[in-house]
């Protein structure tokens, strides 16, 4: 089973990278390098250390923003899910945030918070938080009534019902919100580096494009995708570790 899933993952990678290689060799566009050229550039940047320096810069708003979004997002979502008053007061904010055209709002953020870290953290949060809040509140609201009744009949107090029943019951949907939020946060981090000030990975992308070093540009984009996938896998491992029984496998198993 494990070898089969590994095989399928490798197969899908080979297909995607193969298509990339072929598209680069045709070439579809002179601005589109082959897969191998991009990997060369990636190796070069890795070994001369410039990639690590760039990530040192990019990870700051990313990690801070995602941490804030996760903690605040789950807490606010929990409140919204528990209380109708909170729902009326705060849900609209996050629905608007989710629908807002962020790129157009960045100049406003820059006016308010400058071009430093604060603005970039805001961009990450605006991208990541709404989906975390909305998923959490929906899942909390939909906790099966019989679980809460069971807790009450065995004399759970309010705190125990929230911590031992509502949150674990909501955890699959909270985690799917976190996964979507984290992916959006990665997009937000790069967006902020492209739109506010070119630093870190955003700088590599902007600079490489300006000097027509397309392999480096795609290598940087590729690296951020790899990092995001790694992070999502970590999140999934955490979820499986915390709530093992919620993982019920696939319908076809």
């Amino acid at each position: 089973m494990l070898t089969r899933s590994l095989f399928l993952k490798l197969l899908s990678a080979v297909i995607v990278f193969g298509a990339w290689q072929i598209a680069g060799m045709i070439p579809v566009s002179y601005a589109f390098p082959t897969f191998m050229e991009s990997m060369d550039a990636l190796a070069r940047m890795t070994f001369d250390g410039s990639l690590f320096v760039a990530y040192g810069e990019t990870l700051k708003p990313l990690v801070v923003g995602i941490a804030i979004s996760a903690v605040l997002g789950i807490s606010i979502g929990l409140w919204i899910g528990l209380s109708q008053l909170f729902d009326w007061a705060f849900s609209p904010i996050f629905i608007v945030m989710q629908a807002a055209p962020l790129a157009a709002l960045i100049p406003l953020l820059v006016m308010a918070y400058g071009i430093g870290l604060t603005s970039k953290v805001f961009v990450v949060c605006i991208m990541a938080m709404p989906v975390i809040v909305l998923n959490t509140s929906g899942a909390v609201r939909n906790t099966p009534e019989s679980f809460k009744e069971m807790g009450a009949s065995f004399m759970a107090d309010r705190r125990q019902i929230i911590l031992k029943i509502i949150l674990p019951a909501a955890s699959p949907i909270i985690f799917s919100g976190l996964r979507l939020g984290v992916s959006a946060g990665f997009i937000g981090a790069i967006l902020s580096e492209l739109k506010i000030t070119p630093t870190g990975v955003g700088d590599i992308i902007t600079y490489s494009r300006s000097i027509a070093d397309y392999p480096s540009m795609y290598a940087a984009i590729f690296s951020i995708i790899v990092l995001a996938v790694l992070f999502l896998n970590l999140l999934e491992m955490l979820e499986n570790y915390l709530f093992e029984g919620n993982n019920r496998g696939y319908a076809s198993d």
Binding site: S146, F154, M155, K164, A169, E244, G245, R248
Partner: protein, 265 residues
């Protein structure tokens, strides 16, 4: 209060009352679920609440559990008025209400966990009841890996492990298959014999009620009331295999159906 009931069979006179519901009314908005219902449950016996759907039997059970508040009237358990859920009562749910993220062991120990019992102590106790209900070896399994019947055994073990004197069972066997249900009914009879607990048992199956009960309260709807209390007496000692052939068993089943049939849509 000291006067025991006299109108039923003589044994009632000597039986202590564990739970009594007095003049219970319950309204949901304009809908009257229960009206002025009075019923007593003798200690150490199994009492069934039987009636057509919509007659308020689950409502009554949840009021006794302290999960619902009656609009009027009061419930006493061991002489104390019920104001909410308490350690003297444990509930077995129709849909099992097991936590899917928790192992069988943790599910069974959950009632004790909520009461702050130390981990090793509650797990020892849970393991004992898991073995008692016949699930030894499944401690580390998760609910979705078990069959319906096994899940309800977990629910039963959870209720037993908190060591409440009164067990409230809300149609506990209605979601399991026929063969499992028969086995459950036999096990329940043994449980009533061996554990000195009071069982309140909601069911919509006439045969099941007659098979397992010491006392059957027939509830009728519109307005909900106790229409009849039946105490099967003759076949309880004849062994689980002979009950369903006993003439008294068959007579009672027929008699109950005769009084219920007009209320079934």
């Amino acid at each position: 209060m000291a006067m025991p009931q006299t109108k039923d069979a003589p044994e009632t006179a000597t039986t202590e009352i564990a739970v009594s519901a007095r003049n219970i009314s319950k309204n949901y908005g304009d809908v009257e679920a229960l009206r002025d219902l009075t019923l007593e449950f003798p200690r150490g016996q199994l009492t069934s609440l039987l009636g057509p759907s919509g007659c308020g039997k689950t409502t009554l059970l949840k009021i006794i559990a302290g999960l619902l508040e009656p609009t009027a009237g009061e419930v006493e358990v061991n002489g104390k008025t019920v104001t909410g859920p308490g350690p003297d009562r444990a509930f077995v749910f129709q849909d099992f209400a097991l936590l899917p993220w928790a192992s069988v062991l943790r599910n069974v120990a959950f009632g004790l966990e909520l009461r702050g019992v130390a981990k090793s102590e509650r797990e020892d106790k849970a393991a004992k009841y898991i073995a008692d209900v016949g699930l030894a070896g499944f401690e580390a399994s998760f609910p979705h890996e078990l069959s319906g019947g096994m899940r309800q055994r977990v629910g039963l073990a959870r209720a037993l492990s908190v060591d409440a004197q009164v067990l409230l069972m809300d149609e506990p066997f209605s979601a399991v298959d026929e063969q499992t249900r028969r086995k459950f009914q036999e096990d329940l009879l043994a449980l009533v014999q061996n554990e000195n607990k009071t069982f309140l048992f909601v069911t919509h199956s006439i045969e099941e009620a007659v098979y397992v009960s010491d006392q059957i309260a027939i509830l009728l709807p519109r307005p909900s009331r106790v229409s009849e209390i039946i105490r099967p007496s003759g076949f309880r000692d004849k062994g689980v295999d002979n009950i369903r052939r006993d003439p008294e068993y068959l007579d009672i089943v027929d008699q109950i159906w005769a009084s219920l049939r007009n209320y079934v849509e």
